[in-house]
Symmetry: C2
Subunit: 343 residues, 2 copies
């Protein structure tokens, strides 16, 4: 059916092993024979069969990545980073988008065995307790990206200090003179249990506390992720009796919803209301949104790079690698001192 290594061997009048050597850049081939084989390969238009190589080598030559909601603007750059790190290599990229819980569980189980992938990247999805040993004893190396949980110290991770980033963001608002600061975020408890959501919540709480501003539960709104949902939450906050003068959205996407709500209510930004996002997605700059930048692309890239090293030389990594990426406050146009207050 298809031309095989055997045909090439015949054609080049060499042994079958020699062809294999040429294919794998073995130095144990004379220049002359190598030339001959290469030519035969070209003439026959031969391409090695991946499945056969993989079976024979006991490797899959592919990297798996488990990522939730890969179309969200904050996930795409992460994926892109992974892709860029892998594009130089011969590894295939097997992406599993999980947006329902059951798929998530399947992927965790399926990918931790050797015969699916040679290494696994998990993005934003913290393993539950019983899965931790699964990952740390996995047949293949695993790197967690954007999963910040102290129970995970046994695993390789690329994380962001969201508590600090969020605290810093809140402090910015406080320094501007705001005291009534609302928060619009994802549900703290979801089937996926994103750690970033909670970390950002705690950063906010900490900043308030250190500034001696009491936490007002009614200023904290949690809901489904998304612009529309955020708009509703913000609308609710902004029509309260004593409405917040600033709203911190835990993602830029949600900040857009807040801006929409403000528009509906004819509140001018930043005079009537300060709005703060998180992530610094592409659109944030366009919208002049004050936000906290995290290195989304880099997180994917470095995670993938680490994974590649783990695959290449597992022995040099007996202790888990933990890289923390910095965040940066990006002050743009949606934050200002509250009405009537001078800095």
């Amino acid at each position: 059916m298809s031309v095989t290594i055997r045909d090439v061997a015949h054609h080049a009048e060499v042994g079958l092993g020699t062809v294999s050597r040429v294919l794998n850049n073995s130095p144990l081939v004379s220049v002359a024979t190598r030339e001959r084989v290469l030519q035969a390969i070209a003439e026959l238009n031969f391409v090695p069969n991946q499945s056969a190589r993989r079976l024979s080598m006991g490797k899959t030559l592919t990297i798996g990545v488990i990522i939730p909601f890969f179309t969200r603007p904050s996930f795409t750059p992460r994926l892109s980073g992974v892709e860029s790190a892998l594009s130089e290599t011969h590894f295939d990229l097997l992406i599993s988008n999980v947006d329902i819980k059951s798929r998530r569980d399947d992927c965790f189980r399926g990918f931790t065995r050797r015969n699916r992938v040679d290494g696994l990247l998990v993005i934003s999805l913290p393993p539950v307790d019983q899965e931790i040993p699964l990952l740390s004893n996995a047949a293949v190396p695993v790197v967690l990206i954007d999963v910040n949980d102290s129970a995970l110290t046994g695993l390789h991770r690329i994380t962001v200090d969201d508590v600090a980033g969020s605290k810093r963001a809140t402090e910015h608002l406080i320094q501007l003179g705001h005291r009534r600061i609302g928060m619009v975020g994802d549900y703290l408890d979801t089937p996926f249990n994103f750690t970033s959501t909670r970390d950002r919540y705690w950063g906010y709480r900490q900043a308030l506390q250190e500034a001696d501003i009491p936490f007002t539960p009614s200023y904290f709104c949690e809901g489904e992720h998304g612009r529309h949902e955020a708009r509703h939450m913000a609308h609710h906050l902004l029509t309260m009796e004593e409405r917040p003068t600033a709203i911190f959205a835990t993602s830029d996407t949600q900040a857009l919803g807040v801006l929409e709500a403000a528009r509906e209510l004819d509140l001018s930004i930043p005079n009537d209301l300060s709005v703060m996002g998180y992530d610094d997605i592409e659109m944030a700059e366009y919208l002049q949104l004050t936000t906290t930048r995290q290195l989304l692309f880099e997180s994917g890239q470095r995670g993938a790079e680490l994974l590649l090293e783990l695959i290449a030389t597992p022995e040099s990594y007996d202790t888990p690698v933990h890289i923390t990426l910095p965040t940066e406050l990006i002050v743009r146009g949606t934050t200002a001192p509250p009405c009537g207050v001078l800095p």
Copy 2:
């Protein structure tokens, strides 16, 4: 090393073939033995080796997709559509992001052979002449998405009538009373040769012609894709002596750049300038951008569905399938009659 079908056979005290049959849901197994095998599988925690299956079956159980710039907001939904169609199946999704020409060529060659993928989806990338036979005679079925070229009638395709969509968009502007209509778009000629770019250009030209508005070359700007580049082009247009009263950007992303340029120049939208986008990406609604909606997600989904059918029953598709997806003009807030002109 890993538990194999052989171990299962031993454990269940059956032949090795029987285990295979159970694995493949063959009806040729008695309920009793099936139970026994299933239990052995569970007890041994056996998972079949993909590479081995693939080699043995001569299938790869994976679908390849070649997509350029997969982080662009108009490509992500297409990919998402593909993913959604595949998530129900047992097919793996092998994504190749090509953003440089050489990778593109490699992918075209590499993926058209049987041993890489069982089917190929090509998004937005028209094959060059010499590649057409490669694709139509490919060892595996191929479906082109968003590639609109009359030379491609021999291939299965999901397309959008961009000429019509673009013409309609331009007509909208004309009907509002605009006569000086600028266009900001991608380079017409690029290494990738996106057909949509050219189609949109021609739709624009056609609409002008039918309305007896002469085409003004200086009103047409082409450049690298992206918001910033579009901003520069728009800036140029808007500082001309007789500047356009409306600008049609050939993508929403570029429309954002146009809006930015208008902001810089203190032009109010839509009074001083009408802006029209294309695609209807997620952000368009938020920005109240008038645009042309195309079914991005559906294009990916239907392409993948078609491909799956082609793989399953190739014999029932002796003649190429060509599905054209509709576009829809979405009038929002960035277009209005030109200053001083009543509709």
